[in-house]
């Protein structure tokens, strides 16, 4: 998929220099940078999927979060007891790892 995006001067300059340094295209560089933040995006989408009523809060959070991590912001707006994807993963992992092995 192709997007036409406007970059500010600093970002454009940085991308140009990194592109020159690495041989990667600006598109590839942007993909790499965004890949590192996929989990945060998915966390937000998972929250909206579970609580559609928080859509507006989630949008505000995305626009204003930082320097604290997205997960902290999600905890502020989510109902008590809501588990983020990472927390659910940790729970599942612990469950699998803590079951004693049955010897067949």
């Amino acid at each position: 998929m192709q997007y036409k995006i406007d970059l500010d001067d600093d970002t454009s300059d940085l991308l140009g220099q990194l592109s020159h340094l690495t041989g990667l295209t600006p598109g590839e560089l942007i993909n790499r940078q965004l890949n590192a933040h996929h989990a945060e995006g998915y966390e937000l989408l998972a929250l909206i999927a579970a609580h559609p009523e928080l859509r507006e809060h989630a949008a505000n959070l995305f626009q204003s979060y930082g320097p604290e991590p997205m997960s902290v912001g999600i905890k502020h707006i989510a109902p008590r007891g809501y588990l983020t994807l990472s927390e659910r993963f940790e729970h599942e992992m612990s469950k699998v790892m803590n079951v004693p092995r049955t010897v067949s």
């Binding site: 989990a39 998972a46 994807l85 990472s86 067949s104």
Partner: protein
């Protein structure tokens, strides 16, 4: 998002494992990988099977990574798991595990593969590997035999795999399974006749029985009667090394038992 039950899976269709992986924070994944590498082979197999059955796809993948690295081929993981009636996502995960195995243990295989995208899947960087694997799998619409052909897999490679198998290999595996209980019984009867001593008690007799049965299964998978090849298979299946001399000796005993079984049936 990290896991769905197999029933939910079936209802919701194909879900990209790469997307599920990306949904977990990288530091959490790394922490989980550190826990997984501490596990023994048997622990890994047990936890892999549990995660696979329960649809915990990301966790199963982490276990799979460790099993591949430890040299345990996918067919061993699925030795105790049914392979029929799988959901599209379970089939994809099996396919991906087979490809992971091929990438790690047949590093030059991409050189004989004709198709560019298959070559990238076998030898490309990690991110392109997931992309190409999803393309090849085509949401479950491409059958295993077609992928086996596209990847020009040898018989040995297909025996290593759990899902990437052509019809002839599947039929041979099914034929082995069909007579497995009968052979086990014959071997059991034979071992029962061996006189027990201080050094050969019930525990040793049971170990001998399982060793012979496993060696028989390995011999059915090996392309030749080579004890070296059968010894390698045995180590893959059990994690225990065995010399080719011991294999040759045991195979002779197994053949004698099976000849007796055929004569009496």
């Amino acid at each position: 998002m990290t896991s769905r039950s197999p029933a939910e899976d079936e209802a919701q269709g194909f879900a990209s494992l790469a997307s599920l992986l990306r949904a977990v924070a990288p530091e959490k994944l790394e922490e989980a990988r550190r826990r997984v590498v501490m596990q023994s082979r048997e622990e890994l197999l047990f936890r892999y099977r549990m995660a696979h059955i329960e649809g915990k796809r990301v966790i199963a993948l982490l276990m799979a990574e460790a099993l591949v690295r430890d040299g345990v081929p996918p067919f061993v993981w699925h030795d105790a798991l049914a392979l029929d009636g799988l959901t599209v996502n379970q089939r994809y995960d099996l396919f991906l595990a087979d490809v992971m195995w091929l990438r790690r243990w047949y590093r030059d295989h991409d050189e004989i593969v004709r198709y560019r995208r298959c070559k990238i899947m076998l030898a490309g960087a990690d991110h392109s590997f997931h992309r190409e694997a999803e393309f090849a799998f085509y949401e479950g619409k491409r059958p295993a035999w077609k992928l086996v052909a596209s990847l020009s897999l040898t018989e040995r490679q297909q025996w290593d795999c759990a899902w990437l198998r052509s019809t002839p290999i599947k039929k041979r595996a099914a034929a082995t399974d069909a007579v497995s209980d009968l052979v086990f019984k014959a071997l059991q009867d034979d071992v029962r006749m061996v006189r027990r001593t201080i050094t050969f008690g019930e525990a040793e007799a049971l170990a001998t029985l399982h060793r012979r049965h496993t060696l028989w299964r390995c011999s059915r998978m090996a392309g030749s009667a080579s004890p070296t090849e059968i010894a390698a298979r045995f180590e893959q299946m059990t994690g225990t090394p065995i010399t080719r001399q011991a294999v040759a000796q045991q195979l002779e005993k197994i053949r004698t038992t099976l000849r007796k079984m055929e004569a009496t049936s």
